[in-house]
């Protein structure tokens, strides 16, 4: 009875956090320009996959553009060659990402974390070549695939209308966040963390490290592919540029910016990064210079990220508020 009650109050307290975030996001969606918000929301989904890999497995991947591209191109292939329904396209993209992760995963998750980071980057570069040069007859090479006007409107939320797409993106981002939050509370989530901290011990108590990592890898990169599929639908266009290895560090940077392993990290990081990119590109035009040294700076002083370095007092207050809210609801 008490166990059930504490479970309920725990559920309520984190539901409360998500509801608050959702509210704030919705407010932004009304107040801020729609294109900006759309990019932020998709970007947040993209980053949450990377955040899961780093925060829960301790695996840093510089190959996220590869999984993004897989999702985007699968969706694009469907919408360009086969059908017109963007929702089906989204499903195809996610399925493609899932399949890709299942094929690639077993090779990669056996590797030591440093090799893992490098091999993923190599994968991103190779996929970039594939889309740009190797399969030109299918991918259209640098010209990409354009299908914006081929998509049909969808009922309820029309994905072909940016303003309505935004609400769809917010719903998807919330669902993804809830899923990751849910995973944290399961045995699987605990095993992920344990495998990050001490893999020998985990093996010792009878959990298979390989399987845990593989499943986590598949989940993370299917989410990444989902983000790719959403980019494809939102822009109605894909090109090799989307999976360019020169953007390989973006999800890692944003994960660090938002705070590794924190639930709201990807969203906050995506906000900060997209906002900065817009402002800085307009002001000085030399984005690489800024983002590169920002990254070095983060690594040297504040490796907890924006969220993680919030003054402890503020965080304690938040925790207190959430608890109070949780109690009030019981």
């Amino acid at each position: 009875m008490t166990a059930a009650k504490s479970l309920a109050s725990r559920a309520l307290s984190w539901w409360w956090g998500i509801a608050a975030t959702l509210l704030a996001t919705s407010l932004c969606a009304v107040l801020l320009p729609t294109p900006f918000m759309n990019e932020v929301m998709i970007f947040a989904i993209y980053v949450s996959g990377c955040n899961f890999l780093i925060g829960r497995l301790g695996f840093i991947s510089f190959g996220q553009p590869a999984y993004l591209a897989i999702g985007a191109y699968c969706t694009a292939f469907y919408l360009f060659y086969v059908g017109t329904n963007p929702l089906v396209g989204l499903g195809v993209g996610v399925l493609g990402g899932l399949l890709g992760a299942i094929i690639i995963g077993p090779f990669f998750v056996r590797l030591r974390s440093d090799y893992f980071a490098m091999v993923n980057l190599a994968l991103a570069v190779v996929l970039f070549y594939v889309t740009q040069k190797l399969l030109v007859s299918i991918t259209g090479g640098d010209n990409g695939l354009w299908f914006l006007t081929q998509m049909q409107s969808t009922p309820l939320l029309d994905l072909t209308a940016p303003a309505q797409f935004l609400w769809f993106a917010i719903i998807v981002a919330t669902a993804v966040t809830v899923m990751f939050k849910y995973l944290d509370g399961t045995i699987f989530g605990a095993c992920c963390l344990a495998s990050r901290l001490n893999e020998d011990k985990l093996q010792f108590i009878g959990y298979d490290n390989f399987k845990i990592r593989l499943v986590a890898f598949i989940i993370a990169n299917t989410v990444t592919a989902l983000a790719g599929a959403m980019y494809a639908i939102y822009f109605g266009f894909v090109s090799p540029e989307m999976g360019s290895p020169s953007r390989a560090a973006e999800p890692v940077i944003v994960t660090l910016l938002g705070g590794v392993g924190t639930l709201a990290g990807p969203l906050i990081g995506a906000f900060a990064y997209t906002g900065m990119k817009d402002v800085i590109s307009n002001l000085i035009g030399n984005w690489e210079l800024f983002i590169g040294f920002l990254l070095v700076f983060i690594m040297l002083v504040a490796d907890q990220g924006i969220w993680g370095t919030l003054p402890p007092a503020a965080r304690a207050l938040l925790v207190h508020l959430r608890r109070a809210a949780g109690r009030a609801r019981n």
Binding site: D114, A122, A124, V126, L134, I253, F290, G292, L295
Partner: protein, 291 residues
């Protein structure tokens, strides 16, 4: 499909020269990992710096080789500054940590290069257009010079690590850094020296490769995946492994283009996957001792 033997011959030489460049770049990455346990992507920044300095000095003085020397020196100096200011503070942390930091450095450095030299690709003139006759095939002498430089560098690095006391100390520290520290040897100085050697070799690679490509700010990123694959296939921390794998990848890329050009870029990746499947630490990878 029949292949013209003369084409194959020139392809092999082409592969050797490009393998030489891979080697010059990968050896620094590999040594830095073996000794300091860092993944130093910023080596590719020193590569770009080397190429740009070679271009600028070449334009100013008309002396290509002077430019290459200046490029190598610039690579060494830049790496010295980075080691002192940044890497020193992160040696104790996880290798992936250094990878993120060095990616930031690479990016920030590209920004600086754009600021100084602009984004327009620059051509560098080949110092000698002479051709060399090998079994009826005309081979550009300059390609052979690159191969020669790579071989000389390999020999020098080998002699340094096996014949000098400082080199022996570096190998000892790769074996077990704590034992070397405990003897009252200044390990920090060995780290700096290794990092600067790596930076200078990267600068040298950029300089000698400049005439065969267009020098542009993104050239480091284009090289990144290949250098990675060379290091991974050879095994982090192994000099012999790096050399062998650079040789293999060079040939795969150049002979591969004879058969089906677009696939040549893919082949090294497939080879890398296959090798990792058999040996997760590469051909000659060192077992990682935790610190």
């Amino acid at each position: 499909m029949s292949l013209d033997p003369r084409l194959v011959m020139s392809s092999v030489i082409f592969g050797l020269s490009i393998g030489g460049i891979y080697f010059l770049l990968a050896i620094g990455l590999s040594l830095c990992f073996g000794l300091m346990r860092i993944i130093s992507l910023d080596q590719l920044l020193y590569y770009s710096i080397g190429a740009f300095v070679t271009y600028s000095v070449g334009v100013a003085t008309g002396q290509f080789w002077l430019g290459v020397a200046a490029g190598a020196a610039a690579g060494g100096l830049a790496s010295l500054a980075v080691e002192r200011l940044i890497f020193r503070r992160i040696y104790a942390r996880d290798p992936t940590f250094s990878m993120i930091t060095s990616f930031g450095l690479l990016f920030g450095g590209i920004g600086i290069i754009k600021f100084v030299w602009g984004v327009v690709p620059r051509p560098v003139e080949v110092p000698t257009l002479a051709q060399f006759d090998v079994l009826g095939t005309q081979i550009p002498v300059y390609r052979l010079i690159i191969v020669g430089i790579a071989v000389v560098v390999y020999a020098l690095i080998w002699a340094f690590l096996h014949r000098t006391i400082v080199g022996k100390a570096i190998r000892a520290a790769i074996e077990n850094v704590e034992h070397v520290e405990g003897l009252g040897i200044n390990v920090g100085r060995l780290f700096t020296l290794t990092f600067v050697i790596a930076g200078a070799l990267s600068g040298l690679a950029g300089g000698v490769y400049a005439p065969l490509i267009l020098v542009d700010p993104m050239m480091g990123l284009e090289m990144l995946a290949f250098v990675f694959m060379v290091v991974i296939i050879g095994g982090l921390g192994s000099i012999k492994g790096t050399a062998i794998s650079a040789l293999i990848i060079g040939q795969v890329v150049s002979l591969g283009s004879l058969i089906y050009a677009p696939a040549a870029q893919m082949a090294p990746f497939v080879i890398m996957l296959a090798i990792l499947l058999i040996r997760p630490t590469g051909l000659f990878g060192v077992a990682l001792t935790r610190r």
